[in-house]
Point group: C2
Chain length 457, copies 2
């Protein structure tokens, strides 16, 4: 009766992958079934991700559809797409029948519109079919796109005993029962009950007397990131989803939120590193180029900007002032680093709803912070230049410029994400090459201006 | 009977904070109680985070300890520390009595050793006290440091009916019942049951017939990041924790894992941006300086390295070759960007256990990728330099150097995190200023070498 296998020690080894590949090659279905059935579907998905397409499809066609449907949900997205291309609409429909509505809709949503229709028409269970169709209509970034139709629902007029009897039936359809949602006769959500409450209650009690009426819920059109914030903040494991007139439509469980949080974190991290789109290290060189080249191009344009600025100051490139040019990489690096530091901390604060108070007070704080850091660093640089060049003036000019550059970079790094956020643009794009590049250019310009002024050349 | 309030629309406004502050000022306890009791404890914690210390302590002393204990767990860490300093050991002990063992141990762990003992000695419930002491002994980064002692446990020899009776008692102590853990008479974990299984089963059935024996579990000394990976991968909502001889010690729930994942993501993001330690935008300027200055200093040292390299080539470049100096910020920026892109994707792959296969094949792939990107970018730069300077040689020298610099930067960005990971060091540190700085210097050195060679000067 065990659905889940003990897998904590599962390790994907080359030997295991080879063993599976060999069994496929000699068509030893019996041995293959025996071997793979020892593993959790998430582990089998990992094995399949290492096999070639033909082998993966072989395994999918071999195993039971209650296992393979789960495996499909866990496969790497690119591999899933390829595997699905090798299955007929009928075969996909059979897989989808085994899945909860949310997972089923996610898989179907990845198909072409034409195939979507073909698959849906092959789903035999009419209720499952219409629920999947309902879910497909929602935007994938909304609560509707994340919710499942499977839930346990009782009416406020029922008794505990009646309720237990009825939910026995419903619960069989639902993988995990977190909460029991209580609705009135118009199907509007009025509260919730936990299974624990029900077990602890006396059997003649009325649901209306047990129900917790102040239930958290989200609207079907709420953004998934907001849903994630609410569930994380209130430590919820499931949340009901309602429409504008409070009708109970579905529920979202915490495991989906864990995935949303991971994806968000990866997206932000990649943006900070100058990578767009959802790529991973196993993607093709072309896909990776598409994700990386635009940001590099931005860097190139920034570098050309720096070149033009320096060329504009070329006349200074004589005698002792030549040293100024040798510090431009330092100035650009410091401007870039400070900018990214400042914006990263604002972006993170915005994501956690921690950034409150006026923009001005943020900017003043960052200015003081940047000034403090800048002065410490400039002092060090001053001593270095003075020691090796023996020129007080030059050392002074370079150091003062550095402080100014750091302050301006800090202010830009603080202001840009706040500004983007206010305009409804994801502030995370501000932490990447965008900030670095603009700070590079501006920093170098400022540096030459100030240094020239101080040196009087 | 409602523990949780409807809060999805909660918004922390200045008006609300002012209102609470005013009620505190006039000591209107009745109105304050009425107002705050409308909110979820997580929301009250947000309000308290905006008040000054005196006001926050006032509220904590005013409200019931079953609410305030939860509020304490949700307060910002710095604020909690200050509030706890203003409570007596007796008062803290009362708060801690209301909490689950894991939250209780977390709060006590933040106190000085002296105060820890004082608080523990004041805890009246002997079982709670000894459980908290047990948890305090575990490292906070291990499963033991995250687990709670509260769980529902049944013996394999019981029947469903007996089980239901017994767990009614246990379940009252446990906020949420995810799974029922089945042990043998030596208290060793042998499997699990869901509440759903129990409800659906017939009352005369034996637990031994229902138990799912292949239960996932973690060892008490396992790293929390590994626990998070396992729970996310297998979509678990709770996982039992055992010692080396399989004795059931506690359980970890998914809400704690959500916090671990968020903290990990924030840490990696901050490392990538050159910020160490757990700081947020509301921390003091000194704390922020401590988190940021070391990385800026690294950048400064890198910049000085670049200066020394350029100075070393000073004599070579006169007349038309001076232009080479004007492209150093571009070269440094491209080397830095490519390096961060490559390492970010490896760091992420390592975090997701996706990086398989030999280091060599990774390096070859990155080399091809970098070469492709480099050639496209270099072509553009070549045309630019040629167009505005009309010098084919210089344009060629700069472009070829750029390709070489990008390839080397990509290889370093790929190799360093793989190397750090192999040595057991968090590879995430490789995505920040560390990679940028070393690539800056190396890039500039390489650039001048190659350019000089091509130009024959």
């Amino acid at each position: 009766m065990s659905e889940e296998k003990e897998n904590i020690q599962f390790e994907l080894t080359d030997e295991l992958v080879d063993q599976v590949a060999q069994l496929i090659e000699v068509n030893d279905d019996k041995e293959l079934n025996k071997l793979l059935n020892e593993f959790h579907y998430a582990d089998i998905a990992e094995i399949l991700d290492e096999l070639n397409l033909e082998e993966a499809v072989y395994v999918i066609k071999l195993l039971d559809s209650d296992t393979t449907s789960d495996i499909l949900t866990e496969l790497d997205e690119d591999n899933r797409e390829k595997v699905l291309k090798n299955l007929s609409a009928k075969e996909i429909a059979e897989e989808v029948e085994e899945l909860d509505t949310d997972d089923a809709a996610d898989i179907i949503a990845e198909l072409s519109e034409e195939r979507q229709e073909a698959v849906i028409s092959q789903i035999e269970d009419e209720e499952h079919k219409s629920e999947i169709q309902e879910l497909l209509a929602y935007d994938e970034d909304t609560a509707g796109g994340l919710m499942a139709k499977e839930l346990v629902k009782v009416y406020e007029t029922w008794t505990v005993a009646g309720c237990m009897r009825r939910i026995r039936g419903q619960a069989k359809e639902v993988t995990r029962v977190h909460s029991i949602y209580v609705v009135n006769k118009e199907e509007k959500l009025i509260g919730r009950l936990s299974l624990k409450d029900l077990i602890v209650a006396k059997s003649e009690q009325k649901i209306a007397d047990l129900v917790k009426v102040n239930v958290d819920y989200v609207n079907v059109h709420d953004d998934v990131e907001d849903v994630a914030k609410v569930m994380a903040k209130y430590d919820l494991e499931a949340i009901p989803v309602v429409d504008d007139s409070q009708t109970l439509l579905g529920r979202i469980t915490i495991d989906d939120i864990v995935d949303v949080l991971k994806e968000e974190a990866e997206k932000d991290y990649q943006l900070a590193a100058g990578i767009t789109g959802d790529v991973d290290s196993d993607d093709s060189i072309l896909e990776l180029t598409r994700a990386r080249l635009p940001w590099l191009f931005l860097g190139l344009v920034g570098g050309i900007g720096a070149f033009l600025i320096m060329e504009g100051f070329e006349s200074l490139f004589t005698g002792k002032a030549v040293i100024l040019f040798f510090f431009t990489p330092l100035i650009a690096a410091m401007a870039g680093n400070v900018g990214v530091q400042s914006s990263a901390i604002i972006v993170q604060g915005l994501a956690n709803d921690e950034v409150r108070g006026s923009v001005n007070s943020r900017l003043i704080k960052e200015m003081l912070l940047a000034a403090l850091n800048g002065i410490i660093l400039a002092l060090f640089l001053f001593l270095f230049v003075w020691a090796i060049k023996g020129e007080l003036n030059t050392a002074f000019a370079i150091s003062v410029s550095l402080v100014a550059v750091i302050i301006v970079a800090g202010l830009i790094g603080t202001f840009v994400p706040l500004f983007l956020n206010k305009r409804g643009i994801d502030p995370a794009i501000a932490t990447g090459p965008f900030i670095t590049t603009s700070n590079d250019i501006l920093g170098i310009l400022l540096y030459f201006w100030i240094a020239r002024m101080i040196l009087g050349i």
